[in-house]
Subunit: 75 residues, 6 copies
């Protein structure tokens, strides 16, 4: 059981929404691999691989669609 980490999809600004999307992408990884030590070991590998970074950016993009819509695009 994961402790509470997400209260709302509403954010004050588009940038904060983007940062929430990044958090959601990371939590998707964390639920699959809960061991922080293993995640730490994997980090230096994918952080220096261009395609891994693009793939990570893609997950953020998908979550940002959700967050942006939740916030009615901050209009």
């Amino acid at each position: 059981m994961m402790e509470k980490w997400l209260d709302s999809l509403i954010t004050a600004t588009p940038q904060e929404g983007f940062e929430l999307a990044i958090k959601l992408a990371r939590m998707g990884v964390k639920y699959t691999q809960p061991d922080a030590d293993i995640r730490s070991k994997l980090r230096p590998v994918y952080e220096q691989n261009a395609d891994s970074l693009t793939l990570a950016s893609q997950v953020v993009a998908i979550h940002y669609q959700t967050v942006a819509q939740a916030n009615n695009y901050w209009k």
Copy 2:
């Protein structure tokens, strides 16, 4: 025939919705590979591969779009 595992897409909170998205992603795998023993053998492999984890996080992100919309973004 799979037993009943999904009653509703409605959840009380955004976090529970995220956890439902994780379940949906796993069920997508389970329908394709119903053998729990094989899934258990595969787990330690992809759990230590950064791109596999990102890919898993991506499936969660797609399902989260569905769950979030079903819940009107918990607004």
Copy 3:
């Protein structure tokens, strides 16, 4: 020409909708590779590869968005 296999996107429950999404994902493969023998040979390979299973789960997730929206999220 494929025989009739899809009448409606409407399902009674979210779980049946998920199972329809799985069928849609498989039909996408079947249209591209109509030879059942070849598909049978490929099955044991990708069913034991974690990334292949995640990729298959991703296609299900995309179709589930469609089916869920068609059913107004079973609300």
Copy 4:
């Protein structure tokens, strides 16, 4: 300049819509590789690769979202 190949996204049934999605996915390839001979040579390769088939099925799934929405999910 490609000749006319697409008149409408409207189809009579969900299955015809799925078949249109398959056509759209193939046309995406055809615009990128217009040489039919090269496409014919590539076909036997990816048709026997499970991940290639899943990837092809994914493109169909994305187009099917578009076609289904255009047809208001055939409701």
Copy 5:
């Protein structure tokens, strides 16, 4: 700074919309790799690789969702 290349997402027909989606997919590449000589060298490689073509078709599919919605599915 890129010169003007996109005035509107509105097109007269679904096929012209598809062709705009192809242009958008190519522009996504062009912004990342502005050097036309390098893009020309890469072209013969990915044009003869089935998965590269499917991947390119996928980007077109995503843009086509946007263009189709902008045009209210040409209804």
Copy 6:
């Protein structure tokens, strides 16, 4: 903590919206790999790989969906 880089998803034209989508895709990478030196080293590698460029274009396509919807497709 990242400094302010995003004020709004609203742009004057579809092309400026596309350029914002490119920025969003890059920021997704930057949050994951904040070290500019490493990003500079990775750039010449993926900029000469066709599939890497297509993958980058895909992330742009996903963000462009968000930006286009935020701007009501500039209609």
